[in-house]
């Protein structure tokens, strides 16, 4: 039986051998690996790219004080982007499962329709959830549009839910019982993180402060997006920094939401604010990466 980290090594190694850059996690709070610039921004434009990285993904409202065997405040995703997607992509994916010790001949695999969509960002993709013996272990998406524009190359995004996958491999009922490395359990490593952040997110976080932070991040992002149109030369403009503020806003929103500080009625409005920022950055990013600007950057 492989430990949690051995399984991770094997997956990273597998994708490394297939030409992927192995990135480290993005150093900011995100709700999903898709939101990292390595995915969200890189999928646009005509340049091929292959990357794989583990991304700890924070979903404050999913926290359960470490008491629920399957739900986590922060879970880890292995995110793989192959741009453009090769024609044998699903075989490659299935072989990655074999590489971590799943004997496919003894299991049941189904690909069930599951599309990804972020309507206000004009971003969507088509794909499946991959079911292994009735358990969803992977999200698979072919990205189609970003900012309402067809992507030049169609990337395949593979997102493995690592805790579930390893709990399955190790036959554990609870993710906390997963063996991280011999003698050390997932709970040993992460339980305090789950407990304390659940307490913070649900009970202790100061709503006033969070609203202020949200407003500050939003303002800084708006300032940057507003500067972009007149800025020359375009390739120097810090859009990646602006995007970081989008991520900060998004995480602060999630914290406020978990804290119960946002009524369902207000929710729509706050989400719209975050999306407005994201759309602004994404549109500027598409412009910055039009061929003429991109060439200038390459010189």
């Amino acid at each position: 039986m492989d430990s949690f980290q051995q399984t991770l090594f094997k997956l990273k190694n597998y994708w490394s051998e297939r030409g992927c850059i192995i990135q480290e996690p993005y150093d900011m709070e995100v709700g999903a690996g898709t939101m990292c610039p390595e995915t969200f921004l890189r999928v646009t434009g005509p340049k091929p790219y292959k990357v794989a990285y583990v991304q700890p993904s924070r979903r404050p409202a999913d926290g359960r004080y470490g008491e629920n065997p399957n739900r986590l405040y922060k879970h880890q995703q292995l995110q793989v982007i192959l741009k453009p997607s090769p024609s044998n992509i699903l075989d490659l994916y299935l072989k990655s499962l074999e590489a971590i010790g799943i004997d496919l001949g003894k299991h049941d695999i189904k690909f069930e329709e599951d599309n990804w969509e972020s309507p206000t960002l004009g971003a969507w993709g088509i794909g499946w959830q991959v079911m292994l013996d009735g358990m969803e272990i992977t999200q698979f998406t072919y990205f189609q549009q970003c900012g309402g524009v067809d992507l030049d190359l169609v990337p395949a995004e593979i997102t493995y839910g690592l805790e579930r996958l390893v709990a399955f491999l190790q036959g554990k009922e609870s993710v906390y019982e997963i063996e991280w490395t011999p003698g050390v359990s997932y709970g040993d490593v992460r339980l305090a993180d789950e407990l304390q952040n659940s307490v913070y997110n649900f009970e202790v976080a100061d709503v006033e402060t969070l609203w202020q932070l949200f407003a500050i991040y939003e303002r800084e992002c708006q300032r940057l997006v507003g500067m972009y149109p007149k800025y020359v030369p375009k390739e120097r403009f810090p859009l990646l920094s602006a995007y970081d503020y989008v991520l900060k806003c998004s995480n602060t929103f999630n914290l406020l939401d978990a804290r119960g500080a946002i009524s369902v009625t207000e929710r729509v409005g706050v989400i719209a604010r975050v999306r407005k920022l994201a759309v602004g950055v994404a549109q500027a990013w598409l412009d910055q990466n039009t061929p003429e600007h991109a060439e200038a950057a390459a010189e």
Binding site: G134, D152, E173
Partner: protein, 663 residues
């Protein structure tokens, strides 16, 4: 010699629910290709698994028949240069040309022999055009911007005419004779012929026929499985080689209501649930795998483990939700938007409570019970269970109300207040449930119509058609005697919308004839619950000898009145009536209207209609002997008044002039 044909489009997994419509479209497109190109032949079958769409045909000609085409040249009257030019262009000498007489004069003409093309060439051009035309609800591209669109990436194509490959390329895939087996059970590349195709697929773990896959699943379900046709159909198209596994779960989960357990199994895990002793749930399930066997029992263990985790979640939600009283959640609804302009669910609830009480009073139900049930109806929207299992909204509220000691009348009304969810679904089983369901739906309809959110074309985001259908169904099947105008308020558009739904219901769901429905449901109809009784009466009386002729006479009367632009009212002046057929008709009219009135009052509509029918001989005689357009104005007006009274009096049950008569 004629040939057989095979097309297999190999794709990545197609969503199950899109497959059958796509197959029918493919059949239609290919039939058109055969006809348009004079290739003969017929489509024998269309089949699919999630990874392949297959069409088989036979009787296709090897080549199109040769044809002779007349090509028209210059007029004979034009000079020799022109005709020589034409002959040169046709590549023939002058003596191969004929003269042809046309309406415009005499023209040179050349009968060109066109050799029929080989079918394989025609198909090689047609197929790459046909395939992307197969329509799907949502398509994608995968080869790069501007590339071919299809439901999922195409990975191989088998295209054979007899033994020959029909050569073409689509989205970078070259057609050939190589298929691909089941992802786990078969070889990735298998060379096939038309004869061996299905067998070779079978050897490679693919059962091509949906019917056969269905039979495989059914034979493995076991006798006590809760029947579920929609789930079965889904699983047929989620698998290439289905087989069943029987799993179990701990009895302790049976403490949870069966609605919750079976929703988790069905919607979230696609399992069949198992009944025991009639309607009770057994601690078992049947899952369908996309593979032939579970040699080490790992698949069963895996599925049991997943289900355990799901049930644990459900139990967690059940327990924490029950810590709060359902009624206490009413306040929370202030924060749940119903619709931006229509306010929160709290406000909706206030409106629905009021309306439910009014309806209760009108139908003689308990105001208190209906009000209470309406108040609780939406309170489950903020429960964890509904957040997780949205399809259980209403039902969950009902279950919590039951646990917390609400009376059966009330919790059942909450439980059933979304019913009927379709035309096939039943209406709430109690009058309290019917009242609450009606109030909830009418409030949604009124509100949305008020702010201009009527359904248009295929767009109906608030499911108003379903709500309207539900209103009609509850009124009719619940036998609730309510005035439509009391329900819809004074919105004429909503009234028309509901009458439209009612027409659909009586015609398409209940099978009443088109003209009968038009006769009974008029723009002035107020009592939908009464419509059915009238329709039944017409259905019964229609075959009798007097009915249709009388309907024809009524139509005639309506026409006469319209032509005379008669709008008069008043009382018939008996002294002006001419003795004989006219006076007889009047006497009969008075006698009959008394009879009809008392029958109508007793809602004895067939007797009323029969009585109206008995007027026929007098009406016939009247039209036979009496001139309506009498020269004397006073007489004429009086006659028109007699006819108009007749029409008005006897149209109260149905507008007979709408009945389409055969002669």
């Amino acid at each position: 010699m004629s040939e057989r044909f095979l097309l297999e489009i190999g794709v990545e997994e197609v969503p199950d629910w899109m497959i059958e419509p796509a197959l029918e479209h493919m059949r239609q497109l290919f039939t058109e290709v055969l006809a348009d190109n004079n290739l003969g032949g017929t489509v024998d079958s269309v089949d699919a698994t999630p990874r392949r769409l297959v069409l088989r045909a036979s009787g296709i000609a090897e080549a199109q028949a040769d044809e002779t085409k007349a090509i028209s040249g210059p007029p004979v009257s034009s000079g020799p240069g022109a005709v020589q030019g034409f002959a040169k262009k046709m590549g023939v000498s002058l003596d191969a040309l004929q003269k042809a007489q046309t309406p415009k004069g005499e023209y040179w003409s050349y009968s060109k022999k066109v050799e029929g093309r080989k079918s394989i060439e025609v198909l090689a051009e047609a197929l790459p055009v046909l395939i992307p035309k197969i329509s799907f609800p949502k398509t994608m591209y995968w080869t790069g911007k501007g590339g071919v669109r299809f439901i999922r990436p195409i990975r191989w194509i088998v295209a054979l005419l007899g033994n020959e490959v029909i050569p073409f390329e689509l989205a970078g895939v070259k057609s050939g004779r190589t298929t691909s087996g089941h992802r786990l059970l078969g070889k990735p590349e298998v060379e096939v012929t038309i004869d061996t195709f299905a067998d070779q697929l079978h050897t490679n773990g693919v059962v091509l026929s949906a019917k056969q896959r269905r039979a495989m699943i059914e034979s493995g379900l076991g006798p006590n499985v809760h029947p579920d046709e929609a789930l079965l159909q889904t699983l047929v198209y989620l698998t290439e080689y289905p087989s069943t596994i029987h799993g179990s779960f701990d009895r302790k989960y049976l403490e949870l209501p069966r609605e919750i357990l079976s929703t988790v199994m069905r919607h979230h895990q696609r399992y069949f649930s198992v009944n025991v002793g009639g309607d009770n749930l057994a601690p078992e399930f049947v899952a369908v795998m996309n593979t032939s066997a579970d040699p080490d029992g790992l698949v069963r263990l895996g599925n049991e483990r997943v289900l355990r985790a799901r049930f644990n979640d459900a139990r967690f939600f059940w327990d924490i939700d029950l810590r709060r009283n359902l009624a206490d959640r009413l306040e929370d609804l202030k924060n749940v938007t119903f619709q931006a302009k229509l306010g929160s669910y709290f406000e909706k609830t206030e409106r629905v409570v009021l309306l439910a009480k009014q309806i209760a009073e009108a139908v003689g139900a308990s105001r208190v019970m209906c009000g209470r049930a309406a108040q609780l109806a939406k309170c489950d929207l903020t429960t964890e269970m509904v957040k997780e299992l949205t399809e259980l909204q209403g039902i969950v509220g009902g279950l919590y109300a039951r646990e917390q000691g609400e009376s059966a009348e009330i919790w059942r009304a909450v439980y059933e207040h979304y019913k009927p969810v379709s035309m096939e679904d039943s209406i709430p089983s109690t009058v309290t449930g019917q009242v609450v369901a009606l109030a909830d739906k009418c409030d949604t309809l009124r509100g949305c119509f008020e702010i201009g959110l009527m359904p248009t074309g295929s767009r109906d985001p608030f499911a108003l058609r379903r709500a309207g259908q539900g209103v009609v169904k509850i009124l009719v099947e619940g036998g609730l005697r309510l005035k439509l105008s009391d329900l819809v308020g004074d919105n004429p558009q909503l009234r028309e919308f509901l009458l439209d739904r009612a027409k659909y219901y009586f015609r398409d769901v209940r099978g009443f004839k088109y003209d009968e429905v038009n006769a009974v449901l008029t723009p002035r109809t107020e009592d939908l619950g009464d419509v059915e009784a009238r329709l039944q009466a017409i259905r019964q009386v229609r075959p009798t000898e007097n009915f249709e002729p009388l309907a024809a006479s009524f139509k005639r009367i309506a026409n006469i009145l319209r032509q005379a632009q008669f709008t008069g009212a008043g009382t018939i002046d008996v002294s002006v009536l001419e003795p004989g057929p006219e006076l007889d008709l009047h006497r009969e009219f008075l006698r009959t209207s008394d009879v009809v009135f008392s029958h109508r009052k007793a809602r004895n509509y067939d007797a009323a209609l029969e009585a109206i029918g008995s007027l026929r001989p007098k009406v016939d005689l009247f039209f036979d002997k009496v001139l309506v357009n009498a020269p004397e104005e006073r007489v004429r007006q009086n006659r028109l008044l007699l006819l108009s009274s007749l029409l008005t009096e006897f149209s109260a049950i149905a507008d007979f002039s709408e009945i389409v008569t055969t002669n």
